[in-house]
């Protein structure tokens, strides 16, 4: 720093007394946030570059990643979990978000009666914990109880029933759909809010031009709520990596049957915390967390720099 800037700073301080209150206001939040969230995150990233060699923590560079991606003991589990995570995400994007948009579009019908009742009912599952939701659906889909076969019999589809949660082919889809059932309220609410924000003049202008009903929805409303759909997509993407609780509740930590519902969250839990005969492995746990971190970072960056810039925003 040159003398001139030092002098300027000194003058600035002299003109205005040090504003300690700014630091006081910021300190508690920054302290807790840094100590409990940022530092552990950084430490986890650091740990992923270390492993225990001969009882000593040693820097191994990208060795842990090599093991995770290529070693016979780890790679199969890891790629399986990653693949399942993407299927889980894809089902949410293809089922949850379109249903959410459709419900929001119906809810925003002008002069719709009971709309508050519908909203309240459809949003309720979102507030329940994964534990509750997981067990309820486990009971409902259980062949012992017979609620699902009974209900399917009512519509003549009884022959299609099978214990979906117990079959490796269908378990992941079943678990994803349970999660869709629970969380459809969030896209519904956000899109609903975005639809309500469209000014009446725009809709009236469309109606004057004879654009009504379906074509009005596709041509006018949907383009206007695209930013909200973008936000929902990125929320879904990040939420995907938090989806440990549901799988743990419904299928246990081993994410059965035969690891068919194993996602990165359950793999992380088993790896670093240990489960049954498997001992916890901190370094490999940190490595998996780091991979998840990088995937999330890539997703968020893609959204911020590619998707959000292409979406046209309209100012009313």
């Amino acid at each position: 720093m040159s003398d001139a800037t030092l002098f300027q700073d000194a003058a600035g301080v002299a003109r205005r007394p040090r504003r300690w209150h700014i630091a006081v206001f910021l300190l508690p939040a920054v302290l807790v946030y840094t100590a409990v969230m940022i530092l552990p995150l950084v430490e986890t990233l650091r740990l992923s570059l270390f492993n225990t060699v001969d009882g000593q923590s040693t820097f191994v560079g990208l060795g842990n990643f090599k093991v995770l991606f290529g070693d016979a003991r780890w790679a199969a589990d890891f790629w399986n979990a990653l693949k399942n995570n993407f299927i889980f995400f894809a089902i949410h994007m293809l089922v949850q978000n379109p249903i959410g948009v459709a419900l929001a579009a119906m809810l925003s019908t002008p002069k719709l009666r009971f709309s508050a009742v519908y909203r309240t009912a459809i949003f309720l599952p979102t507030l329940l914990s994964f534990v509750i939701v997981g067990f309820i659906w486990k009971l409902i889909l259980s062949p012992i109880w017979g609620v699902s076969p009974y209900l399917m019999d009512l519509v003549g589809l009884k022959s299609l029933f099978s214990p979906w949660l117990g079959k490796p082919d269908s378990a992941l889809i079943a678990v994803s759909l349970i999660s869709v059932w629970q969380y459809v309220g969030i896209p519904m609410m956000l899109i609903y809010a975005a639809l309500l924000n469209i000014p009446d003049e725009v809709i009236e202008a469309a109606e004057c031009d004879g654009v009504t009903g379906w074509s009005q929805f596709w041509k006018i409303k949907l383009p206007l709520v695209l930013p909200a759909i973008g936000i929902i997509s990125i929320l879904t993407f990040v939420g995907n990596f938090n989806a440990f609780d549901l799988v743990y509740t419904v299928q246990g930590a081993l994410a059965g049957p035969d690891k068919s519902t194993d996602i990165l969250g359950t793999l992380l839990y088993r790896t670093f915390f240990g489960f049954q005969l498997q001992l916890g492995d901190r370094s490999m746990g940190a490595t998996i967390a780091t991979v998840m971190f990088l995937i999330i970072l890539a997703g968020v960056a893609f959204y911020l720099f590619v998707v959000q810039r292409r979406i046209r925003r309209y100012q009313f």
């Binding site: 206001f25 807790v32 552990p40 995150l41 019908t109 519908y118 329940l128 509750i132 309820i136 956000l190």
Partner: protein, 280 residues
């Protein structure tokens, strides 16, 4: 005019039909659990869809839950953790939001960005090191560990939402306070905080739901009997009593009921909060 009215009538009927159908899909599992939790074992299996009658009414499940599980203490733990964490998130978050929105200082926007990082990155990714830190400080199996984690988890969103709202508080009001000789702290606590109360309610709800429902951190940081939360307690209880359907259904109902009551009481504020504050 007449044909158009008829079309919109039939469209309206279709919309209602679809919404009723989906509302039923949403409510049915909860309803099924609640009605079967007060039925006898035989009735649960023979007629799951039937409402409880005088003959099939049975509270044996609740009796098991109250005798075997320590739900009162789980509930208390959850309440302490949730209430203290929300209070800290609101206080610390509002203070930081005030500093960021009210004062111009070097590094302001950088600080805002730093605090916003946590909105997108799940705190769970740092669990390995968080557990390590909690072991080192002897906080494992204490409610303090959970409160700290949830406070850190809630702060980013709280700062983000609250600073948006604090920008709308009129400068004239604050300057009038300054001329009257109020300190900056008094301006924050006595003038600004009361004005952003609606936003605080929104933040409280957004913070509360993930804390109350979380399974991950209680499982890893506080699995001890004395510190179990309701979510973890219900999970473990159901895991043990998996074949006792009365007990399982009763435990599920007990876990649902507080949420249900709170939701019905506050659903209007909650929905208004989501539809107004969240998307801007």
């Amino acid at each position: 005019m007449l044909p158009r009215a008829r079309i919109s009538f039939s469209r309206m009927a279709l919309v209602h039909l679809a919404l009723v159908a989906y509302a039923l899909v949403s409510l049915f599992p909860v309803f099924l659990t609640l009605i079967n939790s007060v039925k006898s074992r035989n009735a649960i299996f023979r007629n799951p869809m039937q409402l409880p009658t005088a003959e099939t009414f049975d509270l044996v499940g609740y009796a098991t839950v109250l005798k075997q599980g320590d739900f009162a203490s789980y509930f208390q733990n959850s309440m302490i953790v949730t209430v203290v964490a929300i209070a800290l998130v609101l206080l610390f978050g509002a203070m930081a939001a005030f500093a960021l929105s009210e004062y111009r200082f070097r590094g302001n926007s950088l600080m805002g960005l730093y605090l916003a990082l946590g909105i997108m990155i799940p705190i769970r990714l740092g669990t390995v090191a968080i557990l390590q830190g909690m072991v080192a400080t002897g906080l494992v199996n204490t409610l303090t560990a959970l409160i700290l984690v949830y406070t850190a988890q809630g702060i980013p969103l709280a700062v983000f939402i609250l600073s948006e709202f604090m920008r709308t508080v009129s400068d004239d009001l604050k300057n009038a306070g300054r001329i009257d000789g109020l300190s900056e702290y008094a301006i924050f606590f006595r003038l600004v905080l009361p004005l952003v109360r609606p936003a605080m309610a929104t933040v409280a709800v957004f913070t509360m739901i993930p804390i109350w429902n979380d399974l991950w951190f209680p499982l890893i940081l506080a699995p001890g009997e004395a510190t179990k939360t309701v979510t973890l307690g219900a999970q473990m209880f159901i895991g043990q009593f998996v074949t006792n359907w009365n007990a399982v259904l009763a435990a599920l109902s007990l876990a649902i009921l507080p949420v249900l009551v709170l939701y019905l009481a506050f659903s209007r504020q909650l929905i208004r909060g989501i539809t107004s504050g969240a998307v801007k």
